[in-house]
Protein backbone atom coordinates (compact mmCIF):
# COMPACT_ATOMS: atom_id res chain seq x y z
CA UNK A 1 0.00 0.00 0.00
CA UNK A 2 1.51 3.27 -1.13
CA UNK A 3 1.83 6.05 1.40
CA UNK A 4 0.35 9.46 0.78
CA UNK A 5 2.79 12.34 0.45
CA UNK A 6 2.58 15.89 1.74
CA UNK A 7 5.01 17.82 -0.37
CA UNK A 8 2.93 19.90 -2.76
CA UNK A 9 -0.12 19.44 -0.57
CA UNK A 10 1.64 20.35 2.67
CA UNK A 11 -1.08 22.12 4.59
CA UNK A 12 -0.69 25.76 5.49
CA UNK A 13 -0.90 26.73 9.12
CA UNK A 14 -4.52 27.03 10.16
CA UNK A 15 -6.25 30.32 9.42
CA UNK A 16 -3.58 31.30 6.94
CA UNK A 17 -4.55 33.14 3.79
CA UNK A 18 -2.80 31.29 0.94
CA UNK A 19 -2.01 34.61 -0.68
CA UNK A 20 -0.28 35.95 2.42
CA UNK A 21 3.38 36.30 1.52
CA UNK A 22 4.55 36.86 5.08
CA UNK A 23 2.98 33.64 6.27
CA UNK A 24 4.45 31.84 3.27
CA UNK A 25 7.90 33.24 3.97
CA UNK A 26 7.61 32.39 7.66
CA UNK A 27 7.22 28.76 6.60
CA UNK A 28 10.41 28.92 4.54
CA UNK A 29 8.76 30.28 1.41
CA UNK A 30 10.94 31.97 -1.22
CA UNK A 31 13.88 30.00 0.22
CA UNK A 32 14.15 28.22 -3.13
CA UNK A 33 14.37 31.56 -4.93
CA UNK A 34 17.08 32.77 -2.56
CA UNK A 35 18.96 29.51 -2.93
CA UNK A 36 18.75 29.54 -6.71
CA UNK A 37 19.55 33.18 -7.32
CA UNK A 38 22.15 33.57 -4.61
CA UNK A 39 24.02 30.29 -4.70
CA UNK A 40 23.44 28.61 -8.04
CA UNK A 41 24.55 29.47 -11.54
CA UNK A 42 22.15 29.19 -14.46
CA UNK A 43 23.99 26.09 -15.67
CA UNK A 44 23.84 24.49 -12.25
CA UNK A 45 20.11 25.12 -12.07
CA UNK A 46 19.47 23.60 -15.48
CA UNK A 47 21.58 20.59 -14.53
CA UNK A 48 19.65 20.25 -11.31
CA UNK A 49 16.33 20.18 -13.16
CA UNK A 50 17.75 17.69 -15.68
CA UNK A 51 19.00 15.51 -12.85
CA UNK A 52 15.64 15.53 -11.10
CA UNK A 53 14.09 13.63 -14.02
CA UNK A 54 10.92 15.69 -13.75
CA UNK A 55 8.36 15.29 -16.47
CA UNK A 56 6.03 18.18 -17.20
CA UNK A 57 2.71 18.03 -15.45
CA UNK A 58 0.63 19.58 -18.20
CA UNK A 59 -0.51 16.28 -19.61
CA UNK A 60 1.95 15.17 -22.24
CA UNK A 61 4.57 14.03 -19.74
CA UNK A 62 7.42 15.63 -21.66
CA UNK A 63 10.75 16.02 -19.87
CA UNK A 64 10.99 19.54 -18.46
CA UNK A 65 14.79 19.47 -18.54
CA UNK A 66 14.74 18.54 -22.21
CA UNK A 67 12.28 21.34 -22.94
CA UNK A 68 14.62 23.80 -21.27
CA UNK A 69 17.63 22.42 -23.12
CA UNK A 70 15.85 22.91 -26.43
CA UNK A 71 15.50 26.63 -25.77
CA UNK A 72 17.16 28.40 -28.69
CA UNK A 73 20.16 30.57 -27.95
CA UNK A 74 18.40 33.86 -28.71
CA UNK A 75 17.20 36.65 -26.50
CA UNK A 76 14.84 37.94 -25.28
CA UNK A 77 13.27 34.72 -24.15
CA UNK A 78 9.89 34.53 -22.48
CA UNK A 79 8.17 32.35 -19.92
CA UNK A 80 4.53 31.35 -20.01
CA UNK A 81 3.17 29.44 -17.05
CA UNK A 82 0.14 27.54 -18.23
CA UNK A 83 -2.77 27.81 -15.79
CA UNK A 84 -5.47 27.40 -18.42
CA UNK A 85 -6.63 24.22 -16.73
CA UNK A 86 -9.63 23.06 -18.71
CA UNK A 87 -9.18 19.36 -19.35
CA UNK A 88 -12.36 17.81 -17.97
CA UNK A 89 -11.63 15.88 -14.82
CA UNK A 90 -8.54 17.93 -13.99
CA UNK A 91 -8.49 20.28 -11.05
CA UNK A 92 -5.01 19.99 -9.55
CA UNK A 93 -3.90 23.31 -11.01
CA UNK A 94 -6.88 25.07 -9.47
CA UNK A 95 -5.96 23.43 -6.18
CA UNK A 96 -2.37 24.69 -6.37
CA UNK A 97 -3.39 28.13 -7.59
CA UNK A 98 -5.79 28.45 -4.70
CA UNK A 99 -3.49 27.00 -2.07
CA UNK A 100 0.06 27.81 -3.19
CA UNK A 101 0.20 30.88 -5.42
CA UNK A 102 3.58 31.90 -4.06
CA UNK A 103 5.12 28.51 -4.73
CA UNK A 104 4.09 28.84 -8.37
CA UNK A 105 5.63 32.32 -8.48
CA UNK A 106 8.80 30.90 -6.94
CA UNK A 107 9.00 28.27 -9.64
CA UNK A 108 8.46 30.92 -12.30
CA UNK A 109 11.23 33.11 -10.89
CA UNK A 110 13.66 30.19 -10.72
CA UNK A 111 12.80 29.04 -14.24
CA UNK A 112 13.17 32.56 -15.61
CA UNK A 113 16.49 33.04 -13.86
CA UNK A 114 17.82 29.69 -15.10
CA UNK A 115 16.96 30.54 -18.69
CA UNK A 116 17.83 34.23 -18.69
CA UNK A 117 14.22 35.32 -19.04
CA UNK A 118 13.21 38.83 -17.99
CA UNK A 119 9.52 38.81 -18.82
CA UNK A 120 6.93 36.16 -18.16
CA UNK A 121 3.21 35.62 -17.96
CA UNK A 122 0.99 33.29 -16.07
CA UNK A 123 -1.91 32.46 -18.35
CA UNK A 124 -4.87 31.80 -16.07
CA UNK A 125 -8.20 30.70 -17.45
CA UNK A 126 -10.73 33.49 -17.34
CA UNK A 127 -13.33 31.71 -15.22
CA UNK A 128 -10.87 31.59 -12.29
CA UNK A 129 -11.93 35.06 -11.12
CA UNK A 130 -10.84 34.76 -7.50
CA UNK A 131 -7.65 32.98 -8.45
CA UNK A 132 -6.73 35.76 -10.87
CA UNK A 133 -7.33 38.39 -8.18
CA UNK A 134 -5.32 36.41 -5.66
CA UNK A 135 -2.45 35.81 -8.10
CA UNK A 136 -2.28 39.47 -9.09
CA UNK A 137 -2.10 40.42 -5.42
CA UNK A 138 0.54 37.73 -4.79
CA UNK A 139 2.68 39.03 -7.67
CA UNK A 140 2.36 42.54 -6.29
CA UNK A 141 3.48 41.31 -2.85
CA UNK A 142 6.40 39.43 -4.37
CA UNK A 143 7.38 42.64 -6.17
CA UNK A 144 7.17 44.59 -2.92
CA UNK A 145 9.38 42.03 -1.23
CA UNK A 146 11.99 42.36 -3.93
CA UNK A 147 11.44 38.96 -5.58
CA UNK A 148 10.30 40.61 -8.79
CA UNK A 149 11.27 43.80 -10.57
CA UNK A 150 14.74 45.19 -11.06
CA UNK A 151 17.85 43.82 -9.35
CA UNK A 152 16.15 40.94 -7.55
CA UNK A 153 17.76 40.23 -4.15
CA UNK A 154 20.67 42.43 -5.17
CA UNK A 155 21.78 39.91 -7.80
CA UNK A 156 21.40 42.30 -10.72
CA UNK A 157 18.76 40.02 -12.22
CA UNK A 158 15.55 41.66 -13.47
CA UNK A 159 12.22 39.95 -13.95
CA UNK A 160 8.63 41.02 -14.49
CA UNK A 161 5.77 38.55 -14.23
CA UNK A 162 2.17 39.32 -15.08
CA UNK A 163 -1.16 37.54 -15.11
CA UNK A 164 -2.72 37.13 -18.52
CA UNK A 165 -6.35 36.04 -18.29
CA UNK A 166 -7.92 33.66 -20.77
CA UNK A 167 -11.57 33.76 -21.72
CA UNK A 168 -12.87 30.22 -21.64
CA UNK A 169 -11.29 28.37 -24.52
CA UNK A 170 -9.80 24.91 -23.95
CA UNK A 171 -7.48 25.28 -26.93
CA UNK A 172 -5.46 27.94 -25.10
CA UNK A 173 -4.06 25.15 -22.96
CA UNK A 174 -2.21 23.89 -26.02
CA UNK A 175 1.13 25.63 -25.74
CA UNK A 176 1.18 27.28 -29.14
CA UNK A 177 -2.53 28.12 -28.88
CA UNK A 178 -1.65 29.78 -25.59
CA UNK A 179 1.09 31.78 -27.28
CA UNK A 180 -1.24 32.91 -30.07
CA UNK A 181 -3.80 33.88 -27.45
CA UNK A 182 -1.16 35.85 -25.59
CA UNK A 183 -0.25 37.61 -28.80
CA UNK A 184 -3.88 38.64 -29.16
CA UNK A 185 -4.65 36.39 -32.10
CA UNK A 186 -7.20 33.65 -32.46
CA UNK A 187 -5.66 30.85 -30.41
CA UNK A 188 -5.03 28.61 -33.38
CA UNK A 189 -2.22 26.21 -32.52
CA UNK A 190 0.86 26.68 -34.65
CA UNK A 191 2.47 24.22 -37.00
CA UNK A 192 5.22 22.20 -35.41
CA UNK A 193 7.66 22.26 -37.07
CA UNK A 194 8.71 25.01 -37.34
CA UNK A 195 6.97 26.72 -34.42
CA UNK A 196 8.32 24.85 -31.43
CA UNK A 197 7.96 27.45 -28.68
CA UNK A 198 11.47 26.88 -27.42
CA UNK A 199 12.71 27.94 -30.86
CA UNK A 200 10.04 30.35 -32.14
CA UNK A 201 7.50 31.21 -29.49
CA UNK A 202 5.93 34.35 -28.09
CA UNK A 203 6.49 37.27 -30.46
CA UNK A 204 8.82 35.04 -32.46
CA UNK A 205 11.25 34.54 -29.60
CA UNK A 206 12.29 31.39 -27.70
CA UNK A 207 9.61 30.73 -25.12
CA UNK A 208 9.20 28.20 -22.36
CA UNK A 209 5.63 27.13 -21.74
CA UNK A 210 5.34 25.09 -18.55
CA UNK A 211 2.31 23.96 -16.60
CA UNK A 212 1.83 25.71 -13.24
CA UNK A 213 2.20 22.46 -11.31
CA UNK A 214 5.53 21.99 -13.05
CA UNK A 215 6.44 25.50 -11.86
CA UNK A 216 5.56 24.59 -8.29
CA UNK A 217 7.57 21.38 -8.63
CA UNK A 218 10.60 23.36 -9.81
CA UNK A 219 10.55 25.22 -6.51
CA UNK A 220 10.30 21.87 -4.73
CA UNK A 221 13.26 20.44 -6.65
CA UNK A 222 15.47 23.41 -5.78
CA UNK A 223 14.24 23.19 -2.22
CA UNK A 224 14.90 19.51 -1.62
CA UNK A 225 17.59 18.95 -4.23
CA UNK A 226 17.35 16.79 -7.33
CA UNK A 227 18.88 13.80 -5.55
CA UNK A 228 16.12 13.64 -2.94
CA UNK A 229 13.45 14.53 -5.49
CA UNK A 230 14.21 11.67 -7.79
CA UNK A 231 13.97 9.19 -4.96
CA UNK A 232 10.24 9.83 -5.07
CA UNK A 233 8.59 7.65 -7.66
CA UNK A 234 10.66 5.68 -10.09
CA UNK A 235 13.44 7.21 -12.10
CA UNK A 236 12.70 5.09 -15.16
CA UNK A 237 9.09 6.23 -15.22
CA UNK A 238 8.07 9.37 -13.40
CA UNK A 239 9.91 11.06 -10.58
CA UNK A 240 8.66 13.43 -7.94
CA UNK A 241 5.37 13.78 -6.16
CA UNK A 242 2.22 13.59 -8.26
CA UNK A 243 -1.08 15.24 -7.67
CA UNK A 244 -3.98 12.96 -8.50
CA UNK A 245 -7.46 14.38 -8.59
CA UNK A 246 -10.23 11.87 -8.10
CA UNK A 247 -13.74 12.74 -9.13
CA UNK A 248 -16.90 11.12 -10.36
CA UNK A 249 -18.36 8.17 -8.50
CA UNK A 250 -15.91 7.93 -5.60
CA UNK A 251 -16.81 8.38 -1.97
CA UNK A 252 -14.17 11.00 -1.24
CA UNK A 253 -13.35 13.02 -4.32
CA UNK A 254 -10.37 15.33 -3.99
CA UNK A 255 -6.66 15.87 -4.56
CA UNK A 256 -4.30 13.14 -3.39
CA UNK A 257 -0.54 13.30 -3.46
CA UNK A 258 1.42 10.12 -4.09
CA UNK A 259 4.40 9.03 -6.06
CA UNK A 260 3.85 7.51 -9.48
CA UNK A 261 4.10 3.96 -8.22
CA UNK A 262 0.71 4.17 -6.59
CA UNK A 263 -1.82 2.04 -8.44
CA UNK A 264 -5.11 3.20 -9.81
CA UNK A 265 -6.85 0.68 -7.57
CA UNK A 266 -5.15 2.15 -4.49
CA UNK A 267 -6.17 5.64 -5.47
CA UNK A 268 -9.79 4.68 -6.05
CA UNK A 269 -10.33 2.26 -3.21
CA UNK A 270 -7.91 3.44 -0.54
CA UNK A 271 -7.32 7.14 -1.07
CA UNK A 272 -10.77 8.07 -2.33
CA UNK A 273 -12.63 5.55 -0.20
CA UNK A 274 -14.02 3.38 -2.97
CA UNK A 275 -17.06 3.68 -5.20
CA UNK A 276 -20.19 5.49 -4.06
CA UNK A 277 -22.90 3.27 -2.63
CA UNK A 278 -20.31 0.46 -2.84
CA UNK A 279 -21.28 0.01 -6.47
CA UNK A 280 -19.02 -1.84 -8.83
CA UNK A 281 -16.53 0.03 -11.02
CA UNK A 282 -17.41 0.27 -14.71
CA UNK A 283 -14.61 2.38 -16.10
CA UNK A 284 -12.03 4.94 -15.17
CA UNK A 285 -10.41 7.70 -17.16
CA UNK A 286 -6.97 8.05 -15.58
CA UNK A 287 -5.67 11.45 -16.65
CA UNK A 288 -8.27 13.90 -17.86
CA UNK A 289 -10.97 13.26 -20.45
CA UNK A 290 -8.44 12.68 -23.24
CA UNK A 291 -6.80 9.74 -21.50
CA UNK A 292 -8.08 6.45 -22.90
CA UNK A 293 -10.46 4.72 -20.51
CA UNK A 294 -9.51 1.68 -18.43
CA UNK A 295 -11.92 -1.12 -17.61
CA UNK A 296 -12.18 -2.77 -14.17
CA UNK A 297 -9.59 -5.43 -15.09
CA UNK A 298 -6.99 -2.75 -15.91
CA UNK A 299 -6.78 -0.77 -12.68
CA UNK A 300 -3.91 -2.56 -11.01
CA UNK A 301 -1.52 -0.37 -12.92
CA UNK A 302 0.95 2.05 -11.42
CA UNK A 303 0.23 5.64 -12.34
CA UNK A 304 3.55 6.47 -14.04
CA UNK A 305 3.36 7.96 -17.51
CA UNK A 306 5.15 4.93 -18.92
CA UNK A 307 3.06 2.35 -17.11
CA UNK A 308 -0.20 3.89 -18.31
CA UNK A 309 1.26 4.26 -21.79
CA UNK A 310 1.83 0.51 -21.90
CA UNK A 311 -1.90 0.04 -21.37
CA UNK A 312 -2.65 2.29 -24.33
CA UNK A 313 -3.69 5.05 -21.98
CA UNK A 314 -1.76 7.97 -20.57
CA UNK A 315 -0.91 9.78 -17.35
CA UNK A 316 -2.23 13.04 -18.68
CA UNK A 317 -3.12 15.57 -16.05
CA UNK A 318 -3.66 13.08 -13.24
CA UNK A 319 -7.37 13.90 -13.22
CA UNK A 320 -9.12 10.59 -12.60
CA UNK A 321 -12.78 10.23 -13.55
CA UNK A 322 -14.38 7.21 -11.96
CA UNK A 323 -17.61 5.75 -13.29
CA UNK A 324 -19.68 3.12 -11.57
CA UNK A 325 -21.88 0.40 -13.00
CA UNK A 326 -24.93 2.65 -13.26
CA UNK A 327 -23.18 4.89 -15.77
CA UNK A 328 -24.27 4.87 -19.37
CA UNK A 329 -21.09 4.77 -21.39
CA UNK A 330 -23.04 6.04 -24.38
CA UNK A 331 -23.99 9.11 -22.37
CA UNK A 332 -20.47 9.47 -20.99
CA UNK A 333 -18.93 9.32 -24.45
CA UNK A 334 -21.54 11.69 -25.85
CA UNK A 335 -20.63 14.12 -23.08
CA UNK A 336 -16.90 13.84 -23.80
CA UNK A 337 -17.55 14.21 -27.51
CA UNK A 338 -19.78 17.25 -26.99
CA UNK A 339 -16.95 18.86 -25.08
CA UNK A 340 -14.51 18.20 -27.91
CA UNK A 341 -16.98 19.41 -30.54
CA UNK A 342 -17.61 22.58 -28.56
CA UNK A 343 -13.94 23.28 -27.94
CA UNK A 344 -12.45 22.48 -31.35
CA UNK A 345 -10.92 25.76 -32.44
CA UNK A 346 -11.89 25.27 -36.07
CA UNK A 347 -8.52 25.94 -37.59
CA UNK A 348 -7.88 22.68 -39.39
CA UNK A 349 -10.24 20.55 -41.42
CA UNK A 350 -10.19 17.13 -39.76
CA UNK A 351 -10.90 18.42 -36.27
CA UNK A 352 -13.34 21.16 -37.27
CA UNK A 353 -15.44 18.83 -39.42
CA UNK A 354 -14.73 15.37 -38.03
CA UNK A 355 -15.13 15.96 -34.31
CA UNK A 356 -18.60 17.58 -34.53
CA UNK A 357 -19.63 14.91 -37.02
CA UNK A 358 -18.79 12.19 -34.50
CA UNK A 359 -20.73 14.14 -31.91
CA UNK A 360 -23.81 14.17 -34.19
CA UNK A 361 -23.56 10.43 -34.75
CA UNK A 362 -23.18 9.71 -31.05
CA UNK A 363 -26.19 11.90 -30.25
CA UNK A 364 -28.20 9.95 -32.78
CA UNK A 365 -27.14 6.65 -31.23
CA UNK A 366 -27.98 7.94 -27.77
CA UNK A 367 -31.41 9.03 -28.98
CA UNK A 368 -32.18 5.58 -30.32
CA UNK A 369 -31.54 6.35 -33.98
CA UNK A 370 -28.25 4.56 -34.34
CA UNK A 371 -27.60 2.58 -37.50
CA UNK A 372 -25.68 -0.66 -37.79
CA UNK A 373 -22.90 1.02 -39.72
CA UNK A 374 -22.47 3.90 -37.27
CA UNK A 375 -19.88 2.29 -35.00
CA UNK A 376 -17.58 1.39 -37.88
CA UNK A 377 -18.13 4.84 -39.31
CA UNK A 378 -17.08 6.40 -36.01
CA UNK A 379 -13.90 4.34 -35.94
CA UNK A 380 -13.21 5.30 -39.53
CA UNK A 381 -13.67 8.99 -38.76
CA UNK A 382 -11.28 8.59 -35.82
CA UNK A 383 -8.75 7.16 -38.21
CA UNK A 384 -9.23 10.04 -40.62
CA UNK A 385 -8.58 12.60 -37.91
CA UNK A 386 -5.81 10.84 -36.03
CA UNK A 387 -2.36 12.25 -36.76
CA UNK A 388 -3.69 14.59 -39.43
CA UNK A 389 -4.45 17.68 -37.37
CA UNK A 390 -2.37 20.78 -36.63
CA UNK A 391 -2.30 20.07 -32.90
CA UNK A 392 -2.88 17.12 -30.66
CA UNK A 393 -6.37 18.36 -29.75
CA UNK A 394 -7.99 16.62 -32.69
CA UNK A 395 -6.93 13.29 -31.35
CA UNK A 396 -6.62 13.88 -27.58
CA UNK A 397 -10.15 14.86 -26.58
CA UNK A 398 -11.38 14.44 -30.15
CA UNK A 399 -10.47 10.87 -31.02
CA UNK A 400 -9.09 8.95 -28.07
CA UNK A 401 -12.25 8.90 -25.95
CA UNK A 402 -14.34 7.84 -28.93
CA UNK A 403 -12.14 5.07 -30.09
CA UNK A 404 -11.33 3.67 -26.68
CA UNK A 405 -14.71 3.96 -25.00
CA UNK A 406 -16.38 2.72 -28.15
CA UNK A 407 -14.09 -0.26 -28.60
CA UNK A 408 -14.00 -1.27 -24.95
CA UNK A 409 -17.74 -0.79 -24.37
CA UNK A 410 -18.71 -2.04 -27.82
CA UNK A 411 -21.48 -4.37 -26.51
CA UNK A 412 -23.19 -1.46 -24.76
CA UNK A 413 -23.17 0.66 -27.92
CA UNK A 414 -24.40 -2.31 -29.95
CA UNK A 415 -27.24 -2.82 -27.48
CA UNK A 416 -28.20 0.82 -27.77
CA UNK A 417 -28.36 0.58 -31.55
CA UNK A 418 -30.18 -2.72 -31.63
CA UNK A 419 -32.82 -1.76 -29.07
CA UNK A 420 -33.13 1.75 -30.50
CA UNK A 421 -32.99 3.35 -27.08
CA UNK A 422 -30.50 4.22 -24.39
CA UNK A 423 -29.79 1.10 -22.38
CA UNK A 424 -27.31 0.42 -19.61
CA UNK A 425 -26.69 -3.31 -19.76
CA UNK A 426 -25.58 -5.24 -16.69
CA UNK A 427 -21.89 -4.55 -16.02
CA UNK A 428 -20.74 -7.98 -17.22
CA UNK A 429 -22.42 -7.50 -20.58
CA UNK A 430 -21.34 -3.94 -21.16
CA UNK A 431 -17.65 -4.18 -21.94
CA UNK A 432 -14.98 -6.31 -23.55
CA UNK A 433 -12.14 -7.89 -21.61
CA UNK A 434 -8.59 -6.88 -22.60
CA UNK A 435 -8.10 -10.13 -24.51
CA UNK A 436 -11.14 -9.36 -26.64
CA UNK A 437 -9.78 -6.29 -28.38
CA UNK A 438 -6.43 -5.65 -29.91
CA UNK A 439 -4.08 -3.20 -28.31
CA UNK A 440 -5.13 0.36 -29.06
CA UNK A 441 -1.93 2.14 -30.00
CA UNK A 442 -1.46 5.73 -28.87
CA UNK A 443 0.27 6.61 -32.14
CA UNK A 444 -1.32 7.48 -35.47
CA UNK A 445 -2.43 4.40 -37.24
CA UNK A 446 -5.10 1.84 -37.51
CA UNK A 447 -6.35 -0.60 -34.98
CA UNK A 448 -8.92 -3.23 -35.38
CA UNK A 449 -11.44 -4.73 -33.15
CA UNK A 450 -11.51 -8.50 -33.04
CA UNK A 451 -14.87 -8.34 -34.70
CA UNK A 452 -16.07 -11.91 -34.30
CA UNK A 453 -15.46 -11.88 -30.59
CA UNK A 454 -17.05 -8.49 -30.29
CA UNK A 455 -20.11 -9.69 -32.10
CA UNK A 456 -20.19 -12.74 -29.91
CA UNK A 457 -19.94 -10.58 -26.81
CA UNK A 458 -22.49 -8.08 -28.07
Amino acid sequence: MAAPLEILTAPLPAETDPGDIDAYMAGGGYGAVRKALKSMSQTELIEEINASGIKGRGGAGFSTGMKWNLCADRFPRYLCANADESEPGSFKDRHLLEAKPHQIIEGMIITSYALGINLGYIYIRGEFFQIIDQMEAALEDARKHGFLGADILGTGYDLELYVHPGAGAYICGEETGLIESLEGNRPYPRLKPPFFPAAIGLWGQPTIVNNVETMAQIATIVDMGAEAYKQIGSEDDTTGPRLFGLCGHVKKPGIYEYDSDVTLRELIYDAAGGIRDDNRLKGVIPGGISAPILTPEEIDTPMGFGALGKLGSMGGTGGIIVMDETTSMVDALLNASSFAAHESCGQCTPCREGVPWMNDILRRIRNGQGRDEDLDLLLDICKQIHGHTVCVFGQAPGVWPVRTILVKYWPEFRACIERKELVVPPLEESYLRPDQYEHIPPVPGNFRLKTEEADAAG
Binding site: L119, Y162, G168, L182, N185, P187, C345
Partner: protein, 163 residues
Protein backbone atom coordinates in the same frame (compact mmCIF):
# COMPACT_ATOMS: atom_id res chain seq x y z
CA UNK B 1 -23.37 51.32 -36.45
CA UNK B 2 -24.53 53.08 -33.31
CA UNK B 3 -22.68 55.91 -31.58
CA UNK B 4 -19.05 55.06 -30.88
CA UNK B 5 -18.39 53.90 -27.32
CA UNK B 6 -15.53 55.27 -25.26
CA UNK B 7 -14.17 53.99 -21.97
CA UNK B 8 -14.70 56.14 -18.88
CA UNK B 9 -11.69 57.92 -17.45
CA UNK B 10 -11.32 55.26 -14.73
CA UNK B 11 -11.51 52.44 -17.27
CA UNK B 12 -8.99 54.20 -19.48
CA UNK B 13 -6.54 54.20 -16.60
CA UNK B 14 -7.09 50.49 -16.08
CA UNK B 15 -6.66 49.95 -19.80
CA UNK B 16 -3.37 51.83 -19.72
CA UNK B 17 -2.16 49.58 -16.90
CA UNK B 18 -3.18 46.49 -18.85
CA UNK B 19 -1.32 47.74 -21.92
CA UNK B 20 1.75 48.37 -19.76
CA UNK B 21 2.10 44.62 -19.16
CA UNK B 22 3.10 44.03 -22.75
CA UNK B 23 5.98 45.37 -24.81
CA UNK B 24 4.90 48.59 -26.52
CA UNK B 25 5.12 47.07 -29.99
CA UNK B 26 2.74 44.22 -29.07
CA UNK B 27 -0.33 46.13 -27.96
CA UNK B 28 -2.58 43.52 -29.55
CA UNK B 29 -1.61 41.12 -26.76
CA UNK B 30 -3.88 43.15 -24.52
CA UNK B 31 -6.99 42.34 -26.53
CA UNK B 32 -8.42 39.66 -24.22
CA UNK B 33 -7.86 41.61 -20.98
CA UNK B 34 -9.26 44.73 -22.64
CA UNK B 35 -12.33 42.84 -23.78
CA UNK B 36 -12.81 41.67 -20.19
CA UNK B 37 -12.60 45.32 -19.17
CA UNK B 38 -15.11 46.30 -21.84
CA UNK B 39 -17.47 43.60 -20.62
CA UNK B 40 -17.14 44.86 -17.06
CA UNK B 41 -17.95 48.36 -18.29
CA UNK B 42 -20.89 47.60 -20.53
CA UNK B 43 -22.05 44.13 -19.51
CA UNK B 44 -21.53 42.70 -22.94
CA UNK B 45 -19.18 43.17 -25.85
CA UNK B 46 -21.10 44.94 -28.59
CA UNK B 47 -19.60 45.78 -31.98
CA UNK B 48 -19.17 49.34 -30.65
CA UNK B 49 -17.19 47.98 -27.69
CA UNK B 50 -15.04 45.92 -30.08
CA UNK B 51 -14.39 49.03 -32.14
CA UNK B 52 -13.42 50.90 -28.97
CA UNK B 53 -10.90 48.18 -28.06
CA UNK B 54 -9.60 48.16 -31.64
CA UNK B 55 -8.95 51.90 -31.50
CA UNK B 56 -7.11 51.50 -28.22
CA UNK B 57 -4.89 48.75 -29.62
CA UNK B 58 -4.58 50.29 -33.05
CA UNK B 59 -5.77 47.34 -35.10
CA UNK B 60 -8.53 46.60 -37.57
CA UNK B 61 -11.84 46.08 -35.71
CA UNK B 62 -12.47 42.71 -37.33
CA UNK B 63 -9.33 41.46 -35.61
CA UNK B 64 -10.98 42.27 -32.29
CA UNK B 65 -14.21 40.66 -33.45
CA UNK B 66 -12.22 37.51 -34.26
CA UNK B 67 -11.24 37.33 -30.60
CA UNK B 68 -14.49 38.53 -29.02
CA UNK B 69 -16.51 35.96 -30.94
CA UNK B 70 -14.09 33.11 -30.32
CA UNK B 71 -14.09 33.04 -26.54
CA UNK B 72 -17.28 31.88 -24.85
CA UNK B 73 -16.73 34.22 -21.89
CA UNK B 74 -17.53 37.29 -23.94
CA UNK B 75 -21.24 38.06 -24.05
CA UNK B 76 -22.26 39.15 -27.50
CA UNK B 77 -25.71 40.24 -26.35
CA UNK B 78 -26.83 41.96 -23.16
CA UNK B 79 -27.16 39.49 -20.28
CA UNK B 80 -29.05 39.46 -17.03
CA UNK B 81 -27.78 41.03 -13.82
CA UNK B 82 -26.72 37.57 -12.66
CA UNK B 83 -25.24 35.03 -15.03
CA UNK B 84 -25.60 31.46 -13.83
CA UNK B 85 -23.47 28.87 -15.57
CA UNK B 86 -23.94 25.21 -14.73
CA UNK B 87 -20.93 23.04 -15.52
CA UNK B 88 -22.18 20.20 -17.69
CA UNK B 89 -18.98 18.36 -18.48
CA UNK B 90 -18.53 14.69 -17.60
CA UNK B 91 -17.48 14.80 -13.90
CA UNK B 92 -20.32 17.18 -13.07
CA UNK B 93 -22.67 15.16 -15.25
CA UNK B 94 -21.76 12.06 -13.22
CA UNK B 95 -22.61 13.88 -10.02
CA UNK B 96 -25.96 15.26 -11.14
CA UNK B 97 -25.57 18.59 -12.85
CA UNK B 98 -28.54 17.71 -15.03
CA UNK B 99 -30.99 18.02 -12.16
CA UNK B 100 -29.32 21.27 -11.06
CA UNK B 101 -29.79 22.75 -14.50
CA UNK B 102 -33.36 21.50 -14.82
CA UNK B 103 -34.21 22.90 -11.41
CA UNK B 104 -32.75 26.30 -12.27
CA UNK B 105 -34.50 26.31 -15.59
CA UNK B 106 -37.83 25.52 -13.98
CA UNK B 107 -37.37 28.00 -11.12
CA UNK B 108 -36.38 30.83 -13.44
CA UNK B 109 -38.77 29.87 -16.19
CA UNK B 110 -36.07 30.16 -18.84
CA UNK B 111 -34.14 27.79 -21.04
CA UNK B 112 -30.51 27.53 -22.02
CA UNK B 113 -28.98 30.85 -23.02
CA UNK B 114 -32.11 32.79 -22.08
CA UNK B 115 -32.56 35.76 -19.77
CA UNK B 116 -35.55 36.27 -17.46
CA UNK B 117 -38.02 38.90 -18.59
CA UNK B 118 -37.09 41.13 -15.66
CA UNK B 119 -33.47 41.06 -16.78
CA UNK B 120 -32.28 39.55 -13.52
CA UNK B 121 -30.96 36.13 -14.56
CA UNK B 122 -29.29 34.53 -17.53
CA UNK B 123 -28.96 30.74 -17.58
CA UNK B 124 -26.06 29.02 -19.24
CA UNK B 125 -24.09 25.84 -19.39
CA UNK B 126 -20.37 25.89 -18.97
CA UNK B 127 -17.62 23.49 -19.95
CA UNK B 128 -15.46 22.02 -17.17
CA UNK B 129 -14.65 24.60 -14.48
CA UNK B 130 -11.84 22.52 -12.99
CA UNK B 131 -13.49 21.86 -9.66
CA UNK B 132 -14.53 18.31 -10.49
CA UNK B 133 -14.04 17.02 -6.93
CA UNK B 134 -16.69 19.44 -5.73
CA UNK B 135 -19.31 18.92 -8.40
CA UNK B 136 -21.84 19.76 -9.45
CA UNK B 137 -20.51 23.28 -9.66
CA UNK B 138 -22.30 26.48 -10.59
CA UNK B 139 -20.59 29.72 -11.52
CA UNK B 140 -22.68 32.69 -10.43
CA UNK B 141 -21.15 35.81 -11.91
CA UNK B 142 -17.60 35.72 -10.52
CA UNK B 143 -18.28 33.25 -7.74
CA UNK B 144 -18.03 29.46 -7.90
CA UNK B 145 -20.56 27.44 -5.91
CA UNK B 146 -19.66 23.82 -5.26
CA UNK B 147 -21.59 20.67 -4.30
CA UNK B 148 -24.67 22.29 -5.75
CA UNK B 149 -27.99 20.50 -5.37
CA UNK B 150 -31.51 21.65 -6.21
CA UNK B 151 -31.90 22.65 -2.54
CA UNK B 152 -28.69 24.67 -2.65
CA UNK B 153 -29.86 26.31 -5.86
CA UNK B 154 -32.89 27.61 -3.94
CA UNK B 155 -30.60 29.08 -1.28
CA UNK B 156 -28.38 30.71 -3.89
CA UNK B 157 -31.35 32.21 -5.68
CA UNK B 158 -32.82 33.54 -2.44
CA UNK B 159 -29.51 35.13 -1.60
CA UNK B 160 -29.30 36.72 -5.06
CA UNK B 161 -32.89 37.97 -4.83
CA UNK B 162 -31.99 39.68 -1.57
CA UNK B 163 -28.69 41.07 -2.78
Amino acid sequence: MATPLEFTEAARERAAKILDRYPAEYRKSAVVPLLHLAQEEWGHVSPEAMACVARLIGCSPVKVAEIATFYPMFNREPVGEHVLAVCHTLPCALTGCGSVFDHLSEKLGIGLGETTADGRFTLRKSECLAACDRGPVLLVNRRLHTHVSPEKVDEILTELEKG
